[in-house]
């Protein structure tokens, strides 16, 4: 994997009172030589991998359950990707879907890290043959 550059996406959970502006100021205040770009969902931080990891650790210290993160393949503002420059890969459908799910994940993380038990998922049962037969013959 590439070691020089890392572009990391920081996304704020909809349940958080943190704003993208506050997050960007926080990363800027760390004094790291990394590029920070404010976005509607949080921010993008780009720079040498170690610096970006430091930014992640510092953000997690203060906002452990409110800010989620992953790496991004394309550099920040890359013309092949950026919507502002009419890039050809303007896909945010997935990020939007995950953004909607973040409050549940935030709640679940708090629950799990408090050491509380969770309900075991129900095992999938086989569908009874008689019921299946009834279903097949329902409109005969």
């Amino acid at each position: 994997m590439s070691e020089e550059r890392e572009t990391r996406l920081f996304m704020i959970s909809p349940d958080s009172k943190l704003t993208p502006d506050q997050l960007v100021r926080m990363v800027h205040a760390m004094g790291l030589e990394a590029t920070v770009k404010e976005t509607c969902y949080g921010c993008l931080v780009e720079g040498p991998r170690e610096l970006v990891r430091t930014a992640l650790e510092n953000v997690r210290k203060d906002h452990r359950y409110e800010v989620f993160s992953k790496v991004r393949a394309y550099p920040s503002s890359d013309p092949r990707r950026c919507r502002a420059q009419h890039g050809t890969r303007p896909g945010y459908a997935q990020l939007e879907a995950e953004w909607e799910l973040l409050p549940l994940i935030q709640h679940a993380l708090l629950h799990a890290e408090a050491g509380r038990p969770y309900k075991e998922p129900e095992e999938a049962k086989q569908f009874p043959v008689d019921d299946f037969k009834k279903m097949c013959e329902a409109n005969r």
Binding site: S2, E4, K70, V71, A73, Q94, L104, I105, A112, P117
Partner: protein, 144 residues
């Protein structure tokens, strides 16, 4: 340990794997490799013919080229993985789960490799989310 996530571009799974102390293997890193080392053009030509040929290691020639193209990127990640976290029944827009045949192939390749894996359902309620995160946490903490 290196943990393969499915959907391979999921932020939530990437974040959880990293949070619980492992290295997530995602399509973002694989695509970054292509972007940094090769030229990916402005038109949406994400795969080259070489990628599709490389995909033959993971799927037969009769398999549609779209699936082989995907597996050319995801296959090496599965090869490099020590464990896998798989989210099933996700809605269409969650991750790159639009191609069910590719998803089936991923599950098959992970099973064939015989690495530890956990399969969790997509959470719809707070209770289900507690179960999903609790199971993933236990699984990741249990990896050596």
């Amino acid at each position: 340990m290196r943990v393969f996530i499915d959907p391979p571009n999921s932020m939530i799974l990437y974040d959880l794997v990293e949070r619980f102390g492992h290295e997530p293997l995602s399509s973002m890193a694989a695509i970054q490799e292509m972007i940094d080392n090769l030229e990916v053009d402005m038109p949406p030509m994400n795969v080259t013919i070489d990628d599709v040929v490389r995909g033959l290691a993971y799927a037969g020639v009769e398999v549609p080229s779209g699936i082989r193209g995907r597996l050319a990127v995801w296959g090496p990640l599965i090869d490099a993985a020590d464990a896998a976290v798989i989210m099933t029944d996700a809605p269409f827009s969650f991750g790159c789960v639009g191609c069910e045949r590719s998803n089936e192939m991923i599950k098959y390749l992970v099973r064939r490799k015989g690495i530890p894996q956990i399969s969790v359902g997509y959470p719809e309620t707070a209770e289900q989310a507690e179960t999903v995160v609790g199971m993933i946490k236990e699984f990741l903490e249990g990896l050596a």
